[in-house]
Symmetry: C2
């Protein structure tokens, strides 16, 4: 049996508009320690597929690594009780201008050691134009890409897809494909 | 063209033994804002393959989501100048008791919006027993799993692999396989 960690206490050290820096006291094997982590309400990501079978991706500038990135659309839940499905539909509309019936592909934690975030991944196949008029936030700009799965595989093999959440979501997507 | 963000200043707000909470001032489209993020030295992950073609994974208890997780071995770089290859070899030895020639499969950011971490993914095919006597940290315990790629695919399809970095690394691994 793997030893379990026991939470003794938890506090928010800093809160910013997007996440909270939390510090917990835990006990493991009779010893106490501190766990420092980034806490969020969770996130949602969508794999949009056009009626022609192309994957839709968004290219955006990523400040923290100072370069552009091609990713599936996604974003954070706005509050603790927002259904992930609603966040997924919102991001699909805001970032891509698409709507579609959303089917859950799976859930993963993007950065297991440092955040409690869970990302819920949905498939939208096929997408249709969204009529709601949703718009990105003021700090967001996107270029849309439509890639066949073969073209997307080639981008990955060439090292041009470097967003881990997009790569993780793609594994969940492929696990649903016929072998 | 996508607009670029310009960094105006950066400060460490809190430092813990594993990462730093940083706050930057940036300028975008003539307006200023704050970016709060988790900064690390980077990380490394290894996909170990046995001479029989099985994937080696480690099961460990993950405190932040309070359940066990099956993942490829990996961990953080110990300082800013540690070569990722060394960290990968260390984690492979400590978590699995294996050594092997390491080939870079690719690099990704686990959690694009909130950390500047880059994870370097290596393939160790085949692995051999490690003779260095490396041991996990005091807070770490691992159970080893050896899965054929087909068995691992089945675990993913069943939703039992929920570590995003493992799912992301697997996409990089599969991009190298013959089609």
């Amino acid at each position: 049996m793997l030893p379990r960690w026991k939470k003794l206490s938890s506090e928010v050290v800093i809160e910013n508009p997007f996440w909270r820096y939390r510090k917990d006291q835990f006990e493991l094997n009779g010893k106490q320690g501190e766990y420092h982590y980034a806490s969020t309400h969770g996130s949602a990501m969508v794999i949009p597929v056009t009626p022609q079978g192309e994957l839709v991706l968004v290219e955006q500038f990523r400040y923290l690594l100072d370069r552009v990135s091609i990713e599936f659309p996604g974003g954070g839940l706005e509050h603790a009780h927002e259904p992930p499905l609603e966040a997924a539909a919102r991001e699909l509309a805001e970032e891509c201008g698409f709507a579609g019936d959303l089917a859950l592909l799976g859930t993963f934690t993007p950065w297991n050691g440092v955040t409690d975030e869970l990302c819920h991944v949905y498939l939208a196949d096929p997408v249709r134009p969204d009529a709601s008029g949703a718009r990105p936030d003021a700090t967001e700009s996107f270029l849309l890409h439509r890639l066949t799965p073969a073209a997307f595989d080639a981008e990955i093999a060439a090292g041009r897809i470097w967003d881990g959440m997009t790569l993780a979501a793609y594994t969940l997507f492929r696990s649903r494909l016929p072998r």
